[in-house]
Structure formats: C-alpha cells, structure tokens
C-alpha cells in the first residue's frame, strides 16, 4: 500500500513566529478568536498543493481601477491618485504568474462602503473600494486607486488604523492562500497600530510597507507605490515540465 511515488511538491512550512500570533491581546478581537490548542501538522497532500485558478477573462476592463469602477460616467473618486504595482513571487524568488489578487480599502476620508461602518467621515459617491486583477506571466500586477485615509476604531480609547489597503492573494495552491494589508511608507501611525503590532519582527512589518516609486510615477497624473508580495515556496516547481515524478 506504500508503493506510489512521493507527492509532487511540498511547500516550505510557514514560519509562524514571523507571521502574527493568533493570540495578540493588544488587538482585542483576537483574544476570543485565537485557538488555544496547538495546530496539527502533516505533510502536504494534493488537498494542499492544488488550488483554484482564475483566468484573465474574469477581469473586466475597470476591475483594477478603483478610481473609476464605481464612479458615475465622467466622474472619478476623490483623493490622492496612486498606482500600486509590484510583483508576486515565492520564497525562492520565482514569479507567481496568473494568480488572482483582490483589494479593498476605505475612501480618502477613511470611510468604508459597508453598513457596519458608521464613522462620521462621508462616503464618496464615486468610490466603491474594491478591485481585482490577475498577475501577468512575469508575476507583476498593478492597480489604480486613491490613497485611503486613516480611521479610528474601537480597540483602545484612541486607536487609529494607518492608511492601508487589504490584499487577498491566491497562489497556485490552497496552502499559499494569504490575506494581508499594505501600508504606506512614512506613515507615523504604522508603529502605533495594534494590528500591525500583532507581528513581532520589525523586518516582517517592513515587508508590508509600500515604497514611493518616483521613477514609476506618472507626472501630472498619479504617484506610484511599489509593493511586492511573497508567497510560500515549494521544494520543487510544480509548473515546469515535470508535473510528475519531481
């Protein structure tokens, strides 16, 4: 019964000291939502090394432009126009092509278009706050938006989130599934934020801070921020011409 060949790819284990801890009491919501028993580990099977694929045909022409995709014809969202671009790669530095990225964020005043958000900053009638794209063959991606504002939240008595964009990433395997947040270089709220501080290692926090990229910025149009995303790597590459037996 043990005569089949080994699994095609095994992902490097997650470094769970690098990721935020489940129980991080400075972020109060985590206290009752953190498992207390140890996670059970086992070797990757096809259940973990496979994952859904989403084609480029899923993506509409405005899906990656949050300044326009909810705006009335001829209108645009209000705020600081920015392009976010970067590369999705794995821990070995290999590009991760043709994977779906989804984004969501508050508007320029820090208000989300969500019925649970009752912050007094107004909604922007031309801004929805969601977008998506699929990485190219070289793993690169880009989207246009307005820079989100910081907003207060009921954690400590005077806690404010830094400006941030939520990013959801599919890799090529369910084991690579990741949601994170992108912050903006130089924001003084970053080191004060209890959610940022669920991460212990300053180098890990630094990976979530997008850099202003003046060379890529379009004069008289928009500033560009550079944000690269790293997904788990695997010991052998599944998509080279050795699908079996590697």
């Amino acid at each position: 019964m043990k005569n089949s060949r080994p699994q095609a790819a095994n992902y490097f284990p997650r470094d769970r000291a690098w990721h935020p801890q489940a129980y991080a009491p400075g972020y109060k919501s985590s206290v009752l939502r953190a498992p207390q028993r140890p996670l059970i580990a086992f070797a990757n099977t096809l259940s973990e090394t496979t994952g859904p694929a989403f084609g480029h045909d899923l993506i509409g022409p405005l899906d990656n432009d949050l300044t326009l995709n909810f705006a009335q014809p001829g209108m645009s969202a209000i705020g600081e126009r920015v392009v976010v671009q970067g590369r999705v790669m794995d821990e070995r530095g290999q590009p991760v092509p043709n994977v779906l990225l989804e984004f969501w964020q508050a508007n320029a005043g820090g208000r989300y278009r969500h019925k649970k958000d009752n912050y007094l900053a107004p909604l922007d009638p031309n801004f929805g706050g969601c977008g998506r794209t699929v990485t190219g063959d070289d793993g690169t991606y880009a989207f246009r938006t307005v820079r989100p504002g910081p907003y207060p939240w009921p954690n400590g008595p005077n806690d404010w989130r830094p400006a941030h964009i939520h990013i959801s990433v599919f890799g090529q395997a369910f084991a690579q599934r990741l949601i994170t947040q992108m912050y903006f270089e130089g924001d003084p709220l970053i080191p004060r934020c209890p959610i940022v501080r669920t991460i212990n290692d300053p180098a890990a926090i630094d990976m979530l801070v997008a850099r202003l990229d003046m060379d890529a910025s379009a004069p008289m149009d928009s500033l560009t921020y550079r944000f690269d995303i790293v997904l788990r790597g695997s010991r052998s590459t599944l998509f080279e011409n050795r699908l079996e037996g590697n």
Binding site: R14, H19, A24, A34, E102, K115
Partner: protein
C-alpha cells in the same frame, strides 16, 4: 566539486499575514454587502450546476468564538475534490476533474445569524503522500476580524465511518476525541458543521 550557494535554502520570507478585518466583504463579496455594479456576481457562490457529477449536498454551519458567540463577520472558503477525487486545478497531476464543478467556494456568513452554507457535492477520496486514501474531506480556510492568519481545517463526514477510521491525517491526532470536531453531522445530502475557535469544543486546526 560542485558549487554550493551559501545562505538559506530560500532567500525570501513570506509576506506576513494580517487580519481580513470586519469589512472583508467589500473586497471578496462586494455584491453581498451592497456594492453592486462593479462585478457581475461574487466569486465562489456557485460551485455546482445541473451537470455536476456526484451526490449533491449542502453543508451549513457557524463559527463560534471562545465565548460561544457566532461570528457574524466571518468569511469561509472551501476547496475540495470532485466526485472522483480529482481537484479542478492546474496542479492536479492525475487527470482532468469534472469541468462542471469548480471545487472552490466562498461564503460570507449571514450578518444576522452567522450561518454559512455551501451547495456542493460529496468529494471523492484523495491519496495521502504514501498513496493510502484519505477519507472524503473538504478543506476550509477561515478569515475574520480578530483572526490574524487564516485558519485551516477540514470537514469530514460522520456517515463515512469506515473511511474515517483509516484516514492517515487522523492518525496524527494524539487525542483521538478531537476527531469528532471535524465530522459534519447528517446525511442524505444535508450536513451541518459548526466550528469552535476556542474552548472545550475547540475544532482541530492544521498547520498545512
């Protein structure tokens, strides 16, 4: 003599996770939260159609916090094999899965009751690393406000007792009573499965 590259096996660290937050629906299920006209429909709401092979089932449940309160802002994704045990993925090396089955679903919990619900099929069996068959299971990934790194667990089925008894993953459990936390209850196409993040009924979560 071969060149040996100095330094770590893999030079880059994974991007650290952050919570999906309470407004995850804006990005992942915008139509569900009233942001209409951006996407035709939310991704992952339809896994099956009339042509999908296998036993059509519904799986419904809730996710509870350590105080026994259901999470009303949780988002659940599932990933599973088709009726023949094949994944609808470019990384599936064994053959082509049922084209009428996506294998992947996404559901935002009901914002009043906290229920999630999937219309899917009973998955076939998938081999473990040594070739033995795993019991039928659905892989789940859970994100929400207060969850800093998405939680991985599985749904097995209580009416698959023989397969469950031989499941290689369950062999890893030191405390066998915890197997029960992964068994969906029911049969005849209707299953319920609650997930407890913390406490005496705590669901098994995996480091996959």
């Amino acid at each position: 003599m071969t060149n040996v590259t100095p330094g770590p096996l893999y030079p880059f660290k994974e991007s650290p996770s952050q919570t999906a937050g309470p407004y995850v629906h804006i990005g992942l299920t915008p139509n569900f939260c009233g942001i209409e006209g951006v996407y035709d429909q939310d991704l992952g709401i339809a896994m099956v159609n009339d042509k999908t092979s296998g036993e059509h089932i519904t799986v419904e449940g809730r996710v509870f916090d350590g105080a026994g309160t259901p999470l009303k802002d949780v988002l659940v994704e599932i990933w599973q094999a088709d009726a023949d045990g094949l994944y609808n993925s470019p990384a599936e090396p064994r053959g082509t899965a049922d084209p009428a089955f996506t294998g992947w679903g996404r559901c935002a919990a009901d914002q009043t009751t906290g229920h999630f619900r999937f219309e899917t099929i009973k998955p076939g069996r998938v081999p473990f690393t040594d070739g033995r068959l795993q019991a039928p299971h659905i892989n789940i990934w859970i994100v929400a406000r207060g969850i800093n790194l998405g939680l991985n667990t599985r749904i097995y089925f209580e009416d698959e007792a023989d397969a469950n008894a031989a499941d290689p993953v369950f062999e890893r459990f030191e405390h066998k009573d915890r197997v029960a936390t992964l068994l969906a209850k029911g049969g005849n196409g209707k299953y319920s499965h609650d997930i407890h993040l913390q406490g005496p009924q705590e669901t098994v979560f995996f480091d996959i």
